[in-house]
């Protein structure tokens, strides 16, 4: 299943290294909690104004808003970088790269480590469809078909991938000679494998 010709890391060694998705999720959660706390404090201060609520609003509430907004802005900016150009991401063993049903926004090429491709069945059972290693790529199907992810991808070992956004990938897909045929051949193979393993 190796696709050496499509290893994005080799073509672009100076990729932008972004925080791992789990770090992004934690930062976003922190920002959400801070902003919710700030909104509740603001409501309290506006409708029940005392020395206590005013100091709470001016010191804690405004602090939460400034920190929360900066964290969220940081996430939004890295999201823009993530979707434009090629970025590098690291995952811990067992960490999910994306889940079945997620919207597709990136295509990934493995630099080091292994992933397992899992299909979540309607009864909750997880079926292993494939494992992939360095040089292989995944996640292209949702981008090409503009559909949700059809499988969950999880890091089997420490994983480093490079990711490319939808716009860049679809441009390459449309213009690079032979790429479309190669990707479609692999997609057909994978679809056949998946049908066999899930039937």
């Amino acid at each position: 299943m190796a696709q050496p010709g499509l290893t994005l890391a080799e073509a672009s060694p100076d990729v932008l290294r972004l925080p791992a998705p789990r770090v992004r999720r934690r930062i976003l959660l922190t920002a959400r909690v801070l902003i919710v706390v700030a909104a509740l404090i603001t409501l309290l201060a506006v409708h029940y104004l005392t020395a206590v609520t005013l100091s709470l609003f001016l010191i804690v509430g405004q602090g939460c808003i400034v920190i929360g907004a900066l964290l969220a802005a940081g996430v939004a900016i890295t999201d823009v970088f993530r979707r434009r150009g090629v970025t590098s991401l690291r995952f811990e063993p067992g960490e999910t790269v994306f889940r079945q049903g997620d919207p597709g926004d990136l295509v990934y090429s493995i630099v080091s480590g292994e992933v397992e491709i899992i299909r979540e069945m309607p009864d909750g059972e997880e079926r292993l469809l494939a494992t992939m290693g360095p040089g292989e790529y995944f996640g292209e199907m949702a981008l090409i078909s503009d559909a949700a992810r059809t499988a969950t991808v999880r890091a089997r070992t420490s994983l480093e991938v490079v990711a490319m956004g939808r716009a860049d990938f679809t441009t390459l897909y449309a213009y690079v000679p032979g790429l479309k045929q190669r990707v479609e051949t692999i997609m057909r193979q994978r679809a056949a494998d998946t049908a066999r393993k899930t039937s």
Binding site: L28, A31, R32, I35, V36, A38, A39, L40, T42, L43, A45, V46, H47, L49, T50, A51, V52, L54, S55, F57, L58, G61, Q62, I65, V66, G68, A69, L71, A72, A73, V75, A76, D79, V80, R83, R99, G101, D102, P103, D105
Partner: protein, 235 residues
Amino acid sequence: MSGITDEIAQRMLEQPFPRSGDFAELGAVVTTALAIAVLVLVIGGALLGERRLSPTAASALGVLGLCVLPVFMMLFGAYTTVEGSKSVEFCHSCHSAMNLYVSDMEDPASASLAAVHYKQRWITQHECYRCHADYGVWGSADAKLRGFAHLYHWLIASKTALGEEQIHTYRRYRNQICLDCHAGGADFLTSGRGVHLMIARNLVERDPDTGAEVTSCMTCHAPAHPSLESWRSRG
């Protein structure tokens, strides 16, 4: 024909007319709407999850709910609360320290300057702030900065904040604040056989050492408020 009886009309005149429709009230409505919108977007976005939204829509909602609206909420909230902090109710919320001053002011039997002003409704709103903030932009900013110092006193529970120690003004009370309302008034000019005009220079000219006028209004019109000692002796 309007259904207002003499009794109702008398009762209406016995109390201050309710004020409504100022900017602080509008600020409270806008801040509330923004806070609710932020809560709906943030909690709704978290519950809905990024999975059900396209990445672009999720990002746009995130930026709106976590960056844009909260900043506006902060600005409107700051305006509303700072405006609200001019009210007597707010000053009174620092209960231990301010109880003496507000209670005396609202006491119809009190003859202190603050109580007389309050009783006669010479100042119709923000009574504490009106007499304790200098006029002009810097006066207002100065009062608000001093307000932070008051919050600090409250936070550390200082003796003055707890009402255990006599509070003093930061500097001698300036005649300018009194004159802003009284100068030019018929009663002010003619009362006491025109005494104010007789000592006009002393009321206006500033002493270079103290920065305050040579003769303070309080020289003749004290006390503005009862002292802590006299209040305690009143029981």
